[in-house]
């Protein structure tokens, strides 16, 4: 390794209700693929994404944590030492979608209690399933103002819309933050 270049690993916790698209989003970003079939995440799944910024190696290290109630007993342990978090909700117009929006605040608080004030990004996913023009994002917008998150991104793991921008934002944010501390 070149001495002047650094190597960062940022652990990123990905949370949100089961079925909103956490695993799909990570897969889309890290592998570029999408699957229609729903495979429930057992406990936690790990993946990573490498990016070079100014010659420094940055690795986003995702902890994709199962959203289902059954895994609650382990969840907060899995948050340990996360550098940032992604909370995913779904915009789809059904129960799963509505519930996932209502639960944003619970996810946020669970995270905040365990990790303190780490950067948080909201992914409003499955945007391909709705008509964006009629989208009322009022709730999400007021949530992010109140909770001081980095931002909200409309994403689709299916079409890829917004996915790269959203993940890029996190990698940049973390890199700037930690690089300047050195």
């Amino acid at each position: 390794m070149n001495d002047t270049h650094l190597k960062f690993v940022f652990k990123i916790t990905v949370i949100g209700d089961g079925g909103v698209g956490k695993t799909s989003l990570i897969k889309k970003y890290t592998e570029g693929t999408f699957e229609e079939d729903y495979i429930s995440t057992v406990g936690a799944q790990f993946s990573f994404y490498d990016e070079k910024i100014n010659g420094d190696e940055c690795k986003l290290y995702f902890w994709d944590i199962a959203g289902q109630k059954e895994f609650e007993f382990l969840r907060s342990d899995f948050y340990e030492e996360s550098k940032a978090a992604i909370i995913v909700c779904s915009l789809e117009e059904n129960n799963l979608g509505k519930e996932s929006l209502n639960h944003l605040v619970d996810w946020y608080e669970d995270l905040n209690n365990n990790c303190g004030d780490i950067p948080v990004v909201i992914f409003a996913n499955k945007v391909d399933l709705i008509d964006e023009e009629n989208l009322d994002e009022g709730y999400v917008q007021s949530f992010i103002k109140e909770k001081n998150t980095i931002g909200v991104y409309r994403t689709s793991a299916k079409t890829g819309q917004g996915v790269t921008d959203a993940f890029r934002k996190i990698i940049r944010e973390l890199y700037e933050k930690y690089k300047s501390n050195i």
Binding site: A44, S47, Y61, E81, Y178
Partner: protein, 264 residues
Amino acid sequence: MEKGEILEEKKVIENYVESIYVYDNAGVCLTSCGIKPENLDEHIVSGFFTAIKKFGQKLIPGTVVKSLIMSGHKLFYNNFENITFCIQCYDDLPNQVIDYILNRISNQFLEIYQERLPIRDGNISIFSDFSTYLSQFMEQPLIEGLLEDFGYKVLSEGVILFDEIREKILFAKVPEEYSSRKQIAMSGMLINFAKKLSNEYQGGDVNSILISSENRWICISKREYIYIIVLFPKTKNIELNIIVEKTEEILDNILKMLKIELIK
């Protein structure tokens, strides 16, 4: 005391240990070495190990996962606050030997990095030097290292390991005048003689002989075809049962290691 040496073909740590991982509680792999499956990133490995550790703590509170046994292989973990050291090795490597290896790595690592732990900024560049250390560590002879460590720990003046079948000194760390053929042959004869005496008293096989002389304790232990002679100064306050126990233990471990059929 002179440097210990071994007269048979070198078996280094790499012959017994497949890989080493050092990671923190976030599951981030700080450094690693050895063979890894293709397409399996070290952070994925350490992530799963961390998840298993956390799961174990939920399953049985107050505990920590110390090992994972698989057919033919095993993984051993050494936990220090935020850091876990893990080695993957063949399953017939004795646990005490694994402890010795884990301790050496952990001590070295903590000596260098303790002040800088835990990693708060995600910057793992500082650990790249340690992977060089690990690679060199893997090339060190294992049995010699174990015996030296043993001699040092039990405050001995010298250790000789002898293979009766091949009539070879496997390891000697003694002042030169103490490792002649004659001295070693006498030790062998003494064990055989002691066996006869033991039989007279229906004592069965002889594991060890401890000689208390004016200047030294001399402990001779035998297992199958190898025996070990350990010299202790009389001047130091040493517990006799510990001398014998530890000497027999190291001999057992070495015998097991000599029997491991190395795949590599």
